[in-house]
Symmetry: C2
Subunit: 526 residues, 2 copies
């Protein structure tokens, strides 16, 4: 086998290969591509390029970047492997504070959600005495709504009808305004729903391409999806000096500028903010809705952290609720898609990949097209739909699971609130680190000062300066956080995103280690 490897071309470094392919393509013109290739005999003596290579692959995919699981995480996994192999390191474990993955950080699942889903998967267990009756009732009700009474059957493509109804009722209770099951589309996590809605919205070529306004800093799913769909990313900057607030003046600036080179049609909002942790005021949401109305923008409201609000005086207001409270003409005209998920909140059930989008004021024909589009992938995972149902339809006072459910939920949320404050306190004691209050969501996004020599050194190595910092941090302390450059930030500023999810005492140690490392790093490069 080894000798035959010689048949395959030596790989060129990616950049050279791409340049070579581009040159070859230019020479070839838009013709029918390479003709038939000689058979095995002829090929044996010479190199042969693979059909699919970095040079020939879909350029839109090549442009995709996703920092949350980018090179720093690859290195973290390598370090873990090295630790297991006994390679000596200045730390004993890698702490992956790069991602909002509550259970990976030791948070325990909410018992009720797991009981209901386990019973649906294995109905034989419905006879076990140890499981409370309300969990069994929920499981029976959900199984009755599954085709063939099995979680192994496909559901309807937009989700199990019963679950869509339960989600609609949950939204009504939350907002005090009507919600229709036919406007609710269940999904494989919120990411899936966000990409699907964006997919409907983008069109055009050249200067006619759809522009999508996203906050900077943003959650990089947005930039990745925009790149993949060959749409135009239009940045509006959140105001770090004012707790990452969204300012409509800045929206206006970004929009006016974008109109010179694309057709902005979509405005994405993340509230509570990821990675920035701000919670938008009701006034701000009103202003954004009015802006979207005036400028004819489709609103996408990423509200997956709606249960994660910690700061005193902050409260979650859904875009849907504010839209309806604004009254006419807004509530009849502004097109809105609002996203939610079971991966965050108090549940943290990321592994199930379950979420939903509610569409408001969306053209009925477009809703049909949406139904068609999701049907190609058949349906969202049914176990996740089941957990979602248990989330939106939780135990009620008087039911056997109620006390335990509420206690577990409150324990998670109050621990998170405590850790949000702790993070802000410890970081703000460190010189050269400045951290806005973590009003909500699951991350801090502190700004760090980096000495000019570190910035030069990073640039010499072709790295973003905060990537340089984060990689050194990882190598020396085992702490894995994501550089701000992966989310976007104002030129010349540096940040990182770190989850507040580790257990309190571990988090305290992490924050201190991180602050100390920053001080050492600053000295080293000053």
């Amino acid at each position: 086998m080894r000798e035959l490897r010689a048949l395959r071309p030596r790989r060129l470094p990616a950049a050279r290969a791409m340049a070579a392919a581009a040159a070859a393509a230019a020479e070839r013109g838009p013709g029918p591509g390479p003709g038939p290739v000689p058979g095995p005999g002829a090929a044996a003596g010479r190199r042969r390029a693979p059909v699919l290579s970095a040079a020939t692959m879909n350029p839109a995919v090549r442009r995709v970047e996703y920092a949350v699981r980018g090179p720093i995480v690859t290195r973290a996994l390598e370090l873990e492997r090295e630790l297991r192999q006994g390679v000596p390191k200045p730390f004993t474990e890698v702490i992956k504070a790069n991602i909002g993955d509550a259970h990976a950080m030791g948070q325990k699942p909410i018992t009720f959600l797991r009981q209901v889903s386990a019973l649906c998967l294995c109905p034989e267990l419905l006879s076990e005495a140890s499981v409370p009756g309300d969990a069994k009732d929920r499981a029976r009700r959900l199984l009755a709504a599954c085709a063939g009474q099995s979680a192994g059957a496909y559901s309807a493509s937009p989700g199990i009808e019963l679950v869509r109804r339960d989600v609609a009722r949950f939204i009504e209770r939350r907002d005090g305004v009507p919600a229709r099951p036919e406007d609710v589309f269940l999904s494989t996590g919120a990411s899936d729903a966000i990409v699907t809605i964006l997919k409907l919205l983008v069109s055009g070529e050249g200067a006619g391409r759809t522009g999508v306004l996203i906050p900077i800093p943003q959650y990089p799913l947005y930039s990745a999806a925009i790149a993949e769909l060959s749409a135009v990313q239009v940045n509006y900057y959140l105001d770090e000096e004012h707790c990452w607030a969204l300012d409509v003046g800045e929206l206006r600036r970004a929009l006016a500028q974008a109109r010179r080179h694309c057709v902005p049609r979509v405005l994405c909002i993340i509230n509570p903010g990821n990675p920035t942790g701000q919670v938008q005021s009701r006034q701000c949401i009103e202003d954004v809705i009015k802006f979207a109305f005036e400028e004819q923008l489709f609103l996408m409201a990423d509200e997956v952290y709606q249960d994660n609000v910690y700061a005193e005086g902050s409260a979650f207001h859904s875009f849907k609720k504010v839209l309806f409270e604004l009254g006419s003409p807004y509530k009849d005209v502004v097109e809105l898609a609002s996203f939610h998920s079971i991966s965050k909140g108090f549940m943290g059930e990321c592994g199930f990949r379950s979420g939903y989008v509610e569409v408001v004021n969306v053209d009925p024909e477009v809703r049909q097209q949406l139904s068609k589009l999701v049907s190609v992938r058949l349906c969202p995972p049914v176990p996740g739909q089941i957990v979602l149902d248990a989330v939106v339809n939780p135990p009620q006072p008087g039911e056997p699971s109620y006390e335990r459910f509420i206690a577990e939920k409150q324990a998670v949320l109050s621990a998170l609130a405590h850790k949000a404050r702790l993070t802000q306190e410890i970081f703000n004691q460190a010189p050269g680190i400045r951290c806005n209050p973590v009003q909500g969501a699951m991350y801090s996004f502190p700004r760090i000062e980096l000495p000019p020599r570190a910035v030069q050194e990073a640039k010499a190595q072709g790295q973003a300066p905060d990537m340089f910092f984060c990689l050194k941090l990882l190598e020396e302390t085992g702490i894995c956080v994501v550089p701000g450059s992966g989310f976007g930030q104002r030129e010349g500023t540096y940040h990182f995103r770190m989850t507040i999810l580790p257990p309190t005492e571990q988090l305290r140690v992490l924050l201190q280690k991180l602050s100390q490392f920053h001080a050492k790093f600053t000295t080293e490069y000053s």
Copy 2:
């Protein structure tokens, strides 16, 4: 609220709206789009078009079609609703024979798979005496491989490492050739993996666009994905006269013709065939591999029905195995992606959305790009990964679950084999229906004669003739099957796809009813 609806534009019929938008766009040119719109006061007096409409949406999405869940299924759901409401119909229930959804048709889940997954979801149940020890061991082993020992944590984006290893070992046992865990990417059902691989492969514009060869008839995921990705669908026809065999001469014809207007780079094979039910001979697979080698095509082998082979003399040969047995240069050069799923086979666990792709001879840089691309969606659903593991790592002789597992598996597979024969027998007794042997997979795809007057009538109504037939069948009998036009077929021939999944006695009645309806329909339109 009612009066405010007047603010929204009346919806134009889709075709008119599209034409209007196209005209408006042409007039406007590729400029920056409409300028700012007057505020609420100004807008109140006049119509206003939504941002997102059938006319302005992504045209690639508009082109997508997916017959398996198309208009006929929408009508089937309506009929079910009407039945529930007591509307009198000439039937008492709707039989959805349109989709390969085993559990919906009453097939019972394999107990072991459900026990393992339920225990992983609710580890409290590990203490229950009623669950066998080997299921508990598997659950403990899987939980230990999950971050935080929870199925609610994200897994690595290509899947849990342990499961990838177990899949690689499963492939090695199946094929007798090496398989590497790093070449295995778990996915949200095979559909997800197929679309992801296609996404990497397509590029170019105009005559430089990527051509993708697909069989006709095909499973419409392929045509839908190709439309969505704006690639070029290149049809090669299976040979109905020879049991839907794949003929390399036909591949050659399709390729030569396609090279005039696109760059064909991908050859998709479905084996066993969907909707056509043929099982490819080893010789045919060899020929296809040699063809792909000679013509420099990337092979995509959809092998999700690999456990579903019923005909005597037929056997499943994986493309990977045949590729390696062909030896050099093929085995070192031909790029292959092979897909599998837990939705079919004896498991039928569609609702979990779990599958995998193994990539062979794929450029390491491309594998990296694939890793990056899947990371944006974070990970495949963990409950599905768990079931997949139990499928590829089933109970072994001597373990407590072994006997029951084997009995359940054999019961499903032998019932399917029986139903495959039954289908073919009953259809071939009916005049005007001709059905190839169902050698494998889960469907029959009989050819039906339709009287010229029915064809005219259908065309007058703007319907494909077999859609016309299937809709009438649904209205009169409650039987829902998918017209052949949804899969593609030779011009002037008509077919439908029907699953063989209903319980035997129900299937027998269905087949007879369908044959009788066809006879009646023929008389009516003759």
